[in-house]
């Protein structure tokens, strides 16, 4: 692409300004995570990562994502099949509902579960009578994470499947294939990269979610603290090296996600949804 504006001297200036903005706002924060984490040497960096509480936080984070992400992926596939393959009334409202979690605060997404299942929530007494714990327990963390990450897979798949149309599936069915065979042999291979893309973003958000889980967690060290919450605990204890050391794990996850995501965009641009905004 050639610059179509020949503004002498302006182009380098605009580039410089862009770099300053991106540097001060985006690149430097990333750099500072690693700089602070290694500020007191490698041993000081590794020690907080070997703490039992940190290991428990890693396990819990993986567990929560391992439940929330597949559920939202299955939901995304079902929603995309219903929305992109059939015409029915109320579709616009359904799409708006799917997008809703993106426009409410993560804290509110956690709050709603406390209102339902907290000690003084609507079902609080019922749960107490039966000895079931949802808030301040893993179930609550999973529910809060699910609500926040609900749209990711669906909104990747829906526009793509709408673009692709249903001709191939209709052909398979005409040739005698069953519904599930058609889905697994035609639909799924057609959307596999978009599905991976959606799952990737869903997972990054699930593992990094803070606001929603902080409401339902109760901050029980070693039990209900996920990695982002563990960072907060360490930070509030003035253990800055520890906080930033744990933060490098999540920052690396973010970088990894970004690299794979960019790779997918370059390599499979045509097989990903055309319109995208998160």
């Amino acid at each position: 692409m050639k610059p179509i504006f020949r503004l002498p001297g302006i182009a380098p200036l605009l580039l410089l300004l862009s770099l300053i903005v991106l540097g001060a706002l985006i690149v430097m924060p990333l750099g500072v995570v690693f700089q602070q984490a290694f500020a007191k040497g490698l041993d000081a960096y590794l020690t907080p990562l070997r703490e039992p509480d940190a290991l428990a936080a890693i396990r819990l984070t993986l567990l929560v994502a391992a439940i929330a992400v597949p559920l939202n992926a299955i939901f995304g596939l079902a929603a995309a099949w219903a929305v992109a393959r059939f015409e029915f009334r109320g579709k616009t409202a359904l799409l708006a509902l799917i997008d809703l979690p993106f426009s409410i605060s993560p804290v509110v997404s956690g709050l709603v579960w406390v209102l339902l299942f907290g000690a003084q929530g609507i079902f609080g007494e019922l749960l107490l009578d039966h000895g079931i714990k949802i808030i301040f327990a893993t179930t609550g963390l999973v529910l809060a994470t699910i609500i926040v990450t609900l749209p990711f897979v669906a909104r990747e798949l829906i526009p793509l499947m709408q673009d692709q149309g249903s001709d191939e599936e209709a052909a398979a069915l005409t040739l005698g294939a069953g519904g599930f065979t058609t889905f697994f042999k035609i639909t799924l291979p057609n959307v596999k990269w978009a599905l991976l893309y959606g799952v990737l973003l869903c997972n990054a958000r699930a593992m990094g979610e803070f606001g929603a889980v902080s409401v339902v967690s109760g901050h029980i060290r070693g039990l209900t603290d996920t990695l982002p919450l563990h960072i907060e605990v360490l930070y509030n204890d003035y253990d800055f090296v520890g906080a930033f050391a744990v933060a490098t794990l999540l920052a690396s996850l973010g970088l990894f996600t970004l690299v794979v995501k960019t790779g997918l965009e370059w390599r499979f641009a045509g097989e990903l949804a055309a319109s995208r905004r998160h």
Partner: protein, 281 residues
């Protein structure tokens, strides 16, 4: 009877699986979204209308709502020109490392908010590299509303860039060339041809940044300082009320946030529709 009802409700299709797929979708949305949100809508009224009014007109709550929506609006307004600058540079110029910079723009999406929060705080704290710089010119960044503004700027920037980029790529070069042939200066072309074309995208990008900023929690609470009446954002107030087991109060603030957000989004959408009409004319 049911057959004809369904026929009216949806168009016929040769594909199977509609009841299963839609049933799953609706059941999931019902359990995960609709029932919990119904709790949010209903819970505040357990303390009565007067109670909710009292709750929301409390000076601390009003201050938090004003701070959250005010700093979010300001951040979105500043993100708009910054995002335009970056999108412009990325779309209109070719330079080494352009794709890398393009990828970096998405970092605020990929970096967990708690990580962004402590990193921004370390940078902009009075003894941090950038905080010290601002302190020299007498601006306190971290632990002040300026810090909140910076965090929201960070979180919203990619929304604006990603909204403008595709539109900027498609702005009709022929129209621009025609304007040039007709003797329009570079500045005239930018202001009179390019800006009107990308205005709707710019507004929708800034709107997304605003909507995200209003609810933002993780990247803000570390840098904010969290002083009641001064640097306490609305989501934090919800967390504090929940810690005091004041469910109705927390729900009232949450519901107020949702209503104000949707109200502003509707207003912006109306503005955008009129902009789009003018852009076409």
């Amino acid at each position: 009877m049911s057959r004809s009802l369904i026929a009216r409700w949806r168009e016929p299709s040769v594909l199977p699986g509609f009841p299963l797929a839609l049933g799953l979708t609706l059941a999931y949305l019902g359990v995960i979204l609709v029932i919990p949100l119904a709790a949010l809508v209903l819970k505040p009224w357990s303390i009565g209308v007067a109670g909710v009014w009292h709750e929301l007109t409390e000076p601390r709550v009003l201050a938090a709502l004003r701070l959250s929506f005010g700093t979010s609006a300001l951040a979105a307004l500043v993100d708009a020109p910054l995002g335009l600058l970056i999108a412009w540079t990325l779309v209109r110029y070719e330079f080494p490392g352009r794709r890398l910079i393009d990828a970096i723009v998405d970092l605020p999406f990929a970096l967990p908010t708690a990580v962004a929060g402590i990193a921004l705080t370390a940078l902009y704290a009075p003894n941090g590299p950038l905080g010290a710089l601002f302190a020299k010119i007498g601006i306190k960044t971290a632990y002040s509303p300026v810090g909140i503004f910076i965090a929201l700027l960070f979180i919203g920037l990619p929304f604006v860039v990603r909204a403008i980029q595709p539109v900027l790529e498609e702005v009709d070069r022929e129209v621009e060339e025609a304007a040039r042939t007709l003797g329009a200066s570079d500045l005239q072309r930018i202001v009179q041809v390019v800006l009107p074309a990308i205005m709707p995208a710019l507004v929708s990008g800034a709107t997304l940044a605003f909507a995200r900023a209003v609810g933002e929690y993780g990247s803000v609470i570390f840098i904010a300082g969290n002083m009641p009446m001064k640097t306490e954002i609305a989501p934090l107030l919800i967390v504090i009320k929940l810690e005091e087991y004041d469910y109705a109060g927390a729900a009232a603030v949450g519901l107020a946030m949702v209503i104000i957000s949707f109200g502003s989004l509707l207003a912006i959408n109306a503005l955008q529709a009129s902009l789009a009409r003018r852009g076409r004319a």
